[in-house]
């Protein structure tokens, strides 16, 4: 979830209100925007916004805009209107259609930049690129000092070695290819353009490079300072709608700072899209049905109350009907997809804590699954036999499942993106987890008797997930006199208590156990598990000094 860092003084100025003194009070206030205080001091406030869909809340301007409504300081839809056309045109090269086809631009004029504002804009740009822009794959943003640019612009393509310019933060010219190899942003985002033969490039009429989207801006033009008064914002991306949405986030934020919005015209050569004037700040409408909404809430609001609450949530009203409202949605509320989204905002404006909770006694019968019941019985018996239950992870490493257990390599369910070297696959048997547990406890008093009822995962070509969970019981006893007999006796006590009438314990061989002291357990002609004294090589592998005796059974097979 995005964390928004704001300067306290700036935030208070935009809100038109002093922030509360305590973190708890501030948390209560920020609850309206699903915000949680992460840091709060004299200079700064860090707010985690727990809504990955509300991109309009990822800037200090957006937070202030929303909060002013809930705090009754400014209600209703905030309209963003266009001051005029800038006359700037952007010509798009047809070769971009399968690379990064869309671009949207806006010019913000007459803005008095401060250091705080520039930092805020950079942070918003960054958040949008990362989250809404899916790490620049979907959209990416560029900001430029408009007065340094000579329109019209060309959104075109270039070969990797064809063009060179000075990328932001560097002082030497580099080709696009060199940028991908050497520039930190090139290394980070290069994979987006790399598969293509030609790469996107934004230039002006004098062939000055504005940027190499979505990688990096030019150091000459793509840098905003306090001297800039007129700004060009450009968004490129893979979907026209998301490009326009992203542009609206930037535009409304800067407009809240007093900038005037001027449009540009994008000329597309594509079959399906010819040209577009951007930004598109028109509001949308959506109807909410009063009865449906009250049915969702479980309490009754009147149309008048709804209208009032919509205003607090900063929606407009296009039309009030007998049984509903046509709601006007501002251009920055790109998250609204369904009337329930508006309904939630109405409930938040009403105040969750004003709603009276109701506990409905529904005619349902509770119960745990028969599987859990069965596992509970097994656990109860094992505890009765003096074993300590342990809980271990189902994720592990083939080294533990196989190498340390003296077994040959075999295929297990592996994770394609492991995060830690110790967790790279799912276990296909349970005993290794117990052996590993014992290896961490060699300093603890013996005898040690442990068990676990847990899942393992095996391949199953028939299953819809091509795998199957198997519930296993494994237990180990280890102390200076641990032996086969002790465990066989425990196993038989378990089987007896599970109601088995008949079972067989026959000699077998298994690399993890001592030959001649290993048995397979079967019941009703099905093999259900293995029992034996752990092989001394395995004990050595786990750095265990005492003999150990163990068994592992498939619980489903003794049901």
């Amino acid at each position: 979830m995005p964390t928004i860092e704001v300067e306290r003084e700036d935030f208070e100025a935009l809100l038109g209100l002093d922030l509360p003194r305590s973190v708890e009070e501030l948390d209560d206030m920020l609850a309206y925007v699903k915000g949680e205080v992460k840091l709060f001091d004299e200079q700064e406030v860090h707010i985690e916004v727990k809504d990955s869909n509300r991109a309009d809340l990822w800037s200090v301007e957006g937070l202030a805009r929303a909060l002013r409504g809930f705090l009754n300081l400014e209600k209703g839809l905030k309209n963003y209107s266009v001051a005029g056309s800038s006359g700037v045109e952007i010509h798009v090269d047809s070769r971009l259609e399968n690379i990064r086809p869309y671009i949207g631009c806006a010019i913000i004029k007459d803005i008095e930049f401060t250091d705080v504002m520039i930092r805020g804009a950079m942070r918003l740009q960054d958040k949008l690129d990362q989250t809404y822009g899916r790490n620049r794959r979907r959209t990416s943003i560029g900001l430029y000092d408009f007065d340094l640019i000579s329109p019209p612009l060309h959104y075109s393509v270039a070969k990797p070695k064809q063009v060179s310019f000075v990328p932001l933060g560097f002082s030497v010219k580099m080709t696009l290819e060199e940028i991908l190899e050497k520039h930190p942003k090139g290394i980070e985002y290069g994979h987006i353009v790399h598969p293509h033969a030609v790469w996107p490039l934004l230039t002006d009429s004098k062939d000055n490079v504005l940027s190499f989207p979505p990688i990096i801006n030019s150091d000459d033009l793509g840098r905003i300072t306090e001297n800039a008064h007129n700004v060009l914002i450009e968004v490129t991306g893979t979907s026209h709608e998301t490009v326009l949405n992203t542009l609206n986030m930037m535009v409304t934020s800067l407009a809240d700072r007093g900038g005037k919005i001027f449009t540009t015209q994008v000329n597309y050569p594509y079959k399906e899209r010819k040209n577009a004037v951007t930004p598109q700040l028109e509001t949308k409408t959506m109807r909410i049905d009063l009865a449906e909404m009250n049915q969702l809430f479980g309490f009754k609001l009147t149309l008048k109350e709804v209208a009032e609450l919509l205003g607090k949530a900063r929606y407009g009203i296009a039309k009030t009907q007998k049984k509903g409202v046509i709601v006007r949605i501002p251009c920055h509320r790109i998250d609204v997809m369904h009337p329930v989204d508006i309904a939630e905002d109405i409930a938040i404006a009403y105040g969750y804590n004003k709603i009276k909770p109701r506990w409905q006694r529904l005619p349902t019968t509770g119960g745990i699954s028969s599987h859990a019941q069965f596992c509970d019985i097994v656990r109860e018996i094992m505890v009765g036999l003096g074993f300590q239950e342990i809980l271990t992870f189902t994720m592990t490493h083939p080294e533990i499942l196989q190498t340390k257990m003296n077994r040959k390599r075999e295929k297990v369910v592996e994770i394609s993106n492991p995060k830690m070297v110790t967790f790279t696959c799912l276990r296909n048997w349970l005993l290794p987890s117990l052996m590993e547990f014992l290896s961490h406890n060699t300093h603890v008093e013996y005898p040690q008797k442990i068990f676990e009822v847990g899942y393992v995962v095996v391949f199953d070509g028939e299953a819809e997930t091509k795998t199957r969970d198997v519930t296993k019981l494994a237990c180990v006893t280890t102390h200076p006199n641990a032996n086969f007999t002790e465990m066989k006796s425990c196993l038989e006590a378990l089987l007896l208590n599970m109601g088995l009438k008949q079972w067989n314990i026959r000699e077998t061989t298994h690399p993890s156990f001592i030959s001649g002291r290993t048995a397979k357990i079967s019941s009703r002609n099905r093999e259900v598990g293995i029992l034996g004294e752990v092989h001394p090589q395995v004990l050595n592998n786990f750095k265990l000094k005492n003999p150990a005796s163990a068994f592992e059974i498939d619980l489903k097979k003794i049901t």
Binding site: G298, G366, E389, K419, M420, T467
Partner: protein, 504 residues
Amino acid sequence: MVELREHEQKTLLALQKLGGKAPVDEVVKASGLAHAAVMRAALSLTAKKLAQTHERKQTVIKLNEEGKQYAKKKLPERHLIDSLVKLGGKAPIEKVAENAHLAKKFIPIALGWLQRKGWATIEDKERVLKALKRKPAEGTDEKLISFLNEKSSFIVEKLSKNLQSAVAVLRGRKLVEIRDKMLREIELTSVGQKLVKKQLLIVEEVSQLKPELIVSGKWRQVRLRKYNIEAPVAVTWSGKKHPYARFLDELKEKLVALGFKEMRGPLIELSFFNFDSLYTPQDHPAREIFGVYYVKSPKYGKVDTYKPAVENVKKTHETGWKTGSTGWGYHFSLRDTQRLLLRAHGTALSVRTLLSKDLEIPGKYFAVARCYRPDMVDKTHLSEFNQVEGIIAGEDLTLRDLLGVLERFAIDIAGVDKVKFRPDYFPFTEPSVELVAYKKDYGWLEFGGSGIFRPEVTLPLGVKVPVLAWGLGVDRLFMMKAGIDDIRHLFSQDLDWIRRKELT
């Protein structure tokens, strides 16, 4: 009455039999007790003023190797006199010595003692030996040799006066070893004397009560030894459930009591259940490799059995379908729905339940689901954990009911003092509510997330009633209850901690 233990009583009786005072060895013989037991009794009886011990110096005498030989073969002078008498009482020395079969080196010693004992004399200068006694009686030195030979060693002070007089002689002839020894004697005190007279019956003392004593009734005749009940004992580590597992068991019971049924589902899940059906767009950051674990091989499962639902979900993502939504507006990939992953949240189980033909309406369901997220394991993160989640499906369920459920959980499960609700966000619920609960000594605690499933979730699954979805932050609750601040303890690898952790 003084409490006497069995070995004390036996010692007292033995002393009485031995005349009130006797060395330890004799008491051992007379009592039938082990030496150590008698010594222990002597100490404790002394403490009880029933007896006292004395130490006395004694001289012990025993034959050395040479002495033992003489004991067998007699003294050399005896050999000479016997030989002389056989030769008629007068004979040359050489002749006598030859008949006596005496080694040459012993002859001077033997001649010396013959004369000293007055058994014979040497006549003239012709070296002729003449007997003075025909058969000299056994001397005290000889008597002492045979006596010591029988006894192996003896106390000098206890020898008869007569024999005592020979000690010096044998010592002079270097036929004996003499050393000093401390003698320990036990003596009854007058109190001890009186007690013994009264208490003649010995009661057998028993440490372990045995079956034969119980069955035979013999336990009535024995005394069960008193134990030192304060002595430390070895720790017994009982078998028990894991504290966290037990906590989850209890939680299940509470949920069952509230009318919830347990759901089950696979650890390895289809993206369809984990994401698509929950209206999470296919390019959502949560679906990227840092948000969820994917299976390396096999990569894809099968969704054939859920075909109508998959189709509905596809249309909903793309255009909103019949749900009243705008949809996400992108091309939905059917292939992506089949991508296999490690279940990232328990909500996947809720979807399986909603899609199941066994779904009951109204219905309440819950799961304690093992879930996975690619996090580095540390004090506050696990990459594998349990989530407690569930749903309530029914006609006329509302936001008020959702709050009611949350409040009930907070009170019944966490036992909190007050609750508060905050707006929350999940891609699949709207409205969404976070439960924050206040507990004395702990403060405000985020205890659960919840919401009403979006129509984009329920309608494609064919569910036409509202579905309340909830999840509880049980890990934090357990940590609070168990007083731990490291989440790794939930799957503790520390046996000692688990053994010592009280069950609450």
